[in-house]
Amino acid sequence: MANTFAFAESRGGALRRVAFEAVSAARALADASGGGEVHAMLVGAPGIASLAGELGKYGADMVIVVEHAGLANANVEALAATAAARIKAGGYRAAIFSASAQGRDLAPRVAAQLGVSMAADVTAFELAGDALVVKHPAYAGKVIATLKLTGSPAIVTLRPGARAAVEAVREARVESAQPTSDPGASKLVVKEMIVGGGTKLDIGDAPVIVSGGRGLKSAENFKLVEDLAAAFGNAAVGATRAVTDDGWRPHSDQIGQTGRQVSPELYVALGISGAIQHIAGMRNSRTIVAINKDKEAPIFKVADYGIVGDVIEILPVLTAAVKEARAKG
C-alpha cells in the first residue's frame, strides 16, 4: 500500500481536462497497489484552492494547494522545486504528470532533481512487482514500446486523452503549502499568455485541415470550405497546387510536395483528385476523408472514408452536420 502523487494542471485559474485524467490515473495506480491515497498538487494564483473539490470527484484523497501571486502563470523552476520537495517528503510510490506542454516541461526537471528515472508520454501502465510497466507510442506512432521503470518514486507523464478520467468521488482534504523556491527568483518567467481563439490556425499546427482542389470550380466556392473549417473550430484551410497556381488561394496554403507537408488528425480533401504532388504532402494524416465526383480518383486510394458526389452540393450538408456534432460533444 503506497500513496500516489498527481500533478493537477490548471491554466488561467481553471483546471484542465488533463488534470482529472492524471488524478484518475493516480487513483487507479493507488488502488492497484492496495489502496493507498492519492495526493493531488494544485498550483496557481491565490483563489485556486476553490477548485480542490473538483479533484476529489476523480479520486483525490488530498489536494495540496500551493497559492502564490507569482504562480498565476506556469513557473517551471518554482513548480519543479516545489513538486520535487513534496514528492520526496511524501514518500510516494509514483508521481503522475500530464504529457501536456506544461507537464512535459515540468516532469523531467522534477525527475532530474530527485535523481530518478521517468517514463514519458505513456498510454497505459500497470504495476509489476517492484516495477511499473508502461506503454509508450514511439517512431511517429508506428511502434508501441513497452518499458519497465524501476525505482521509486516512479515518475510518469500521461498522454492526454489516452485514459479517460473516471469518477471516484470522495471528499478531498485540503492542505496548503508554500512554494519551495521563490517564483520571483526563477530564471525563466512567462511574460505573456496568448489564449487561442481569435488566432487563425496555421496548417502546420491545426489538428484538422479541410483542403480544396480544382473540383471547387472557383475561388468564390472556397467560402464553403472556410465554413466547414469554422464548423470544426480547430481547422485550417489548405489547397492543392492547381488552386494556388490559379490564384484562388495564397501560395502559403498549398499542401503537397512543393508546398507544406502536413499530418493532422483529420484531413478532409474536397474536390481533390489526388495528384502525386498533393498526396506526397498529406498522406501521413491520421484520418483522411475524400469527397470527389470521380469515383476512380486516386484520392480514394489513400482516403479512409470517401463520398462520391458533387462537392459543392455536399459541403453545406457536411458543414451543418459537423456543426451539430460539435455542439453535442
Binding site: A140, M193, K295, G306
Partner: protein, 250 residues
C-alpha cells in the same frame, strides 16, 4: 556566442517499420538514418544566431556508437565548427542516464546556449533537454517556436494546447526547438568538403545504470482499409457517424 547543439541519429520515419527478432528493437535492415528533424532545426537556429550575431562557436554533440559521426559530419557540413561524440555502444533508453552523460560534457564548456530538438522523433520522450537544464541549474525553454536572443537574455514563444506563452529567460540557458523554427539548411558540397577537415572529438560517455528499460516493441494494430461511405449529400450523416465513433476525430 558559444552554442552547443545535442543531436540524435534516428531512422527515417517514412519507413514501414518491422520489429527485429529480439522483439525489443526495430529491424534495422534497409533503414536510412538522419539527424532527428527537430535537432536539424536546432543546428540551423544555432548557425543562424552565430551568423547574425557575429563571432561565435557552434559545437554539436551526439551520444552513441561510431555511426553517429555521420550525423555529426552533416551538422559540420551545415556549418557547425566542431563536433563531439560521446561514445557508447547504444543510446540508453533511460533519459536520465543520457542527460547525466551530456551534462558532464556540457558542464565546463561555458556555453551561452544549449540547444536540443523538442524531442527525438524515434523515442519521442522529450525528457533529456529539461533534465540537462536541471542538472546544470539552467533555465530551460521547451518546445519553442520562435526565439530572440539579445543582451544576454532570451525571449521565446511556446505553443501550448490552444494557447501560447511568451517566456523570457537569462542566459546561459537550455532551449528545445520545435516546429516553426527554421528548417535545417541543405549542406552544400562546399560545406561537405569543409566538414571533412573540421575537428570531431570522440570521448567515452559516462553512463550510469538504467532504470528505464525496454521490454518489448510491437506494431500497433493495422489501419483499416479505406472505403466509400456512399454517394451524394445523403452519405454525410453516415460519414459524420463514422468520424465520431470509429475514427474518433469528431
Amino acid at each position: 556566442m558559444k552554442i552547443a547543439v545535442c543531436i540524435k541519429r534516428v531512422p527515417d520515419m517514412e519507413t514501414r517499420f518491422k520489429i527485429a527478432a529480439s522483439g525489443t528493437a526495430v529491424d534495422e535492415a534497409g533503414l536510412k538514418y538522419d539527424m532527428s528533424d527537430f535537432d536539424g532545426y536546432a543546428v540551423e537556429t544555432a548557425l543562424q544566431l552565430n551568423e547574425k550575431q557575429g563571432p561565435g562557436e557552434t559545437v554539436v554533440i551526439s551520444l552513441g556508437p561510431d555511426v553517429v559521426q555521420e550525423q555529426l559530419r552533416k551538422a559540420l557540413s551545415m556549418g557547425a565548427d566542431r563536433a563531439v561524440q560521446l561514445k557508447a555502444e547504444r543510446v540508453p533508453t533511460d533519459g536520465l542516464v543520457i542527460a547525466r552523460a551530456l551534462a558532464a560534457e556540457l558542464k565546463g564548456g561555458a556555453y551561452d546556449l544549449i540547444f536540443f530538438g523538442r524531442q527525438a522523433v524515434d523515442s519521442a520522450n522529450a525528457t533529456v533537454g529539461p533534465m540537462v537544464a536541471e542538472l546544470l541549474g539552467l533555465p530551460c525553454a521547451t518546445a519553442v517556436s520562435t526565439l530572440d536572443i539579445a543582451n544576454g537574455r532570451g525571449t521565446a514563444r511556446r505553443d501550448l494546447e490552444g494557447a501560447a506563452e511568451i517566456v523570457e529567460f537569462a542566459l546561459p540557458a537550455v532551449v528545445t526547438i520545435d516546429e516553426g523554427m527554421p528548417r535545417a539548411r541543405y549542406p552544400s558540397l562546399k560545406g561537405i568538403m569543409a566538414a571533412k577537415k573540421k575537428p570531431l572529438e570522440v570521448k567515452p560517455a559516462q553512463l550510469g545504470e538504467e532504470r528505464l528499460t525496454l521490454e518489448k516493441m510491437e506494431l500497433p494494430p493495422e489501419r483499416a482499409a479505406g472505403r466509400i461511405v456512399g454517394e451524394g449529400p445523403g452519405a454525410v450523416a453516415e460519414l459524420v457517424r463514422l468520424l465520431h465513433t470509429e475514427a474518433k476525430v469528431l
